[in-house]
């Protein structure tokens, strides 16, 4: 990506140390109240993520991956039943903060979010440049002129032509609008960016272009990504680590080097076997049955009813077992 004129975006840590933990989530629960009962969207999720690493959260629709992102950002609807656990960012326990403090100190400053289909949520009556600059003006109290100058810098970083900043959203193509949204997430220079399906509505070439920009940003600046997607092939473009969710649980968390070659959890294996590949011939598989309802999830392993490898022990809920070469998987087969 030679066409990226990269300017100094902010303080960059000299040497990235992957051992330093940026985000730690422990026993996170997010349940929703509905007329039919309590939905256990995120159930007992724990993981940690190192600084300047990128984590892909994979899973099918309804597995709780977007709820997990919203729980981290505390963007919650009104019908929350339970919201508990620990979320530690940069050594600060976010769960102890009140909502106003969280809004002022964490959102945009520490974590920014690119929600699903955000490119369609740009304000139609404001110029794109102002919308990109707004978080700086509102959250960091930067002057307008300075914020616009920064908006130009981040626009260059994401590959958005600077003269597009004077346009309105409808004058931009889908790919350019998505770049504007990513620029908005970058402008406050937050250590953590959560991307929810950032490219799934875009064409193949545009998708590849945006992935190139995201990689470029990661190489040059101090950012950590959480990428939420159901598109396994595209997730491999960015992931250092992969976390697979099924029915509200984390079932595997592995380094990407191993995950894309040999997933360990039977669900992850089935999921990988269902991904069509362009370059090699393989017999595609599908997973019979459907994920369980999260209102009264089955006792024991939640994947057991669909699992080809189930045995007696699966009636009991498995803990997360540590794997050789790093990572964890929630499956009795990993017990030794």
């Amino acid at each position: 990506m030679a066409d990226h004129a990269l300017t100094n975006l902010g303080p960059v840590t000299e040497t990235p140390s992957s051992s330093e933990t940026l985000l730690k989530v422990k026993d996170l629960r997010l349940y929703f109240r509905t007329t039919k009962g309590v939905v256990q969207a995120v159930d007992n999720v724990s993981f940690s993520l190192g600084r300047r690493r990128s984590l892909a959260i994979l899973g099918e629709s309804g597995c709780g991956k977007t709820s997990l992102a919203r729980a981290i950002l505390r963007l919650l609807p009104r019908n929350v039943h339970t919201f508990s656990g620990e979320i530690v960012l940069d050594g600060v326990d976010l769960m102890k903060m009140n909502d106003e403090w969280f809004r002022r100190e964490i959102r945009w400053r520490k974590i920014s979010f690119v929600p699903q289909a955000a490119m369609n949520a740009l304000n139609p009556v404001l110029r794109v440049g102002y919308q990109i600059a707004e978080p700086l003006i509102v959250h960091l109290g930067v002057s307008r002129e300075e914020a616009y100058k920064r908006a130009e810098e981040v626009a260059r970083v994401v590959g958005l032509p600077v003269d597009f900043l004077n346009r309105y959203a409808f004058e931009l193509s889908g790919g350019m609008r998505q770049r504007a949204i990513i620029a908005m997430a970058l402008i406050t220079n937050p250590p953590l960016i959560i991307l929810d399906e950032p490219t799934s509505a875009l064409d193949v070439l545009t998708q590849a272009n945006i992935m190139n920009s995201l990689k470029d940003i990661k190489r040059k600046f101090d950012v950590t990504y959480i990428l939420i997607t159901h598109d396994i092939a595209t997730s491999s473009e960015l992931a250092d680590e992969v976390l697979v969710m099924y029915a509200g649980h984390v079932v595997e968390h592995s380094p990407a080097e191993r995950f894309y070659k040999t997933p360990m959890h039977p669900y992850a294996q089935k999921l990988m076997a269902s991904v069509p590949t362009l370059r090699e011939d393989k017999q595609l598989e599908f997973i019979p049955g459907q994920p369980p309802s999260l209102i009264n999830p089955p006792k024991g392993c939640r994947f057991a009813p669909r699992c080809p490898k189930r045995f007696e022990r699966c009636a009991e809920e498995p803990p997360l077992f540590a794997l050789d070469g790093g990572g964890v998987a929630k499956c009795w087969l990993m017990a030794r």
């Binding site: 099918e60 629709s61 092939a233 491999s236 995950f259 362009l278």
Partner: protein
Amino acid sequence: MLENGVLLSVKGLHTWYELRKFGFIRAGYVRALDGVSFDLRYGEALTIVGESGSGKTTLLKTILGLVPPTKGTLEFAGRQVDAKNLDWLRRQVGYVQQDPYGALPPFMNVRRILLEPMLINKVGRPAEREARIREVLEEVRLVPVEDFLPKFPHMLSGGQQQRLVIARALVLRPKLIVADEPVSMLDASVRVEILDLLRRVQRAHNLGVIYITHDLSTVRYFSERVFIMYAAKVVEKADVREIVKNPLHPYTRALLAAIPDPDYENSLRFKDVPPGEPPSLVNPPPGCRFHPRCTQMIPGVCDREVPPEFEPAPGHFVSCWLYK
């Protein structure tokens, strides 16, 4: 009926949408489809790959008779299609929509959804209709049929909804099925199931199928022949394996290079993607429409003259001056 004859023959098809200012002043045309020709035989499956705005959905709408072609002809089962025989055409062509939930009326149950096409087209007597409904439901494996008949679309999962859409497309016993991105809204684990199902009904009934997608990686699980579209034109036609192994058009090459297979190595390198975006179809660039983004552009040729179709290898057609 000729089992190996031509089912659908498309010749020089152009579909332009008129642009108007203030509702009545002519302001040019969007050339959504600009000169597409091909033949589809009985029982043949064909895939059309293109990005959004490449004209693939317009092609499909023109084949379904939903938009009249501006120029060119459409022949179905040996008969020229025109405004007078559209009803006849639509009975022969089943349509599988992209978004199953949006395509199914929420206030009708499964039985009513499948009955509707037969009522509209006055097909069969009540007992025959009932039997036909059961038959197609079994075919798409929505079994036990009794359980599904009274259900409404919101009670079905995404995969089941898409099966129902396929069942509806089959209920009039068509000769051709057109499927517009039938799996793009579904989860990976269900996609394969639906593609398998389409493939199975295609073989069982010797159906012609046109499968439209932007995702090249699913193509090889569905059909042999594939067309690549760019900016309202077909730029390359070949066998899927041939396209993957030996892509000729620079656009096809870029498209293939951009599609990742799940592999950790992807995160270590940048993709070689052409800059820019597809051209406007109101004022398409002269000559080859890919030339402004093409790295192998021949000045004076590609930007002046429209490339005709060349056949550098048997059965592999490409519209690019590099293969003259």
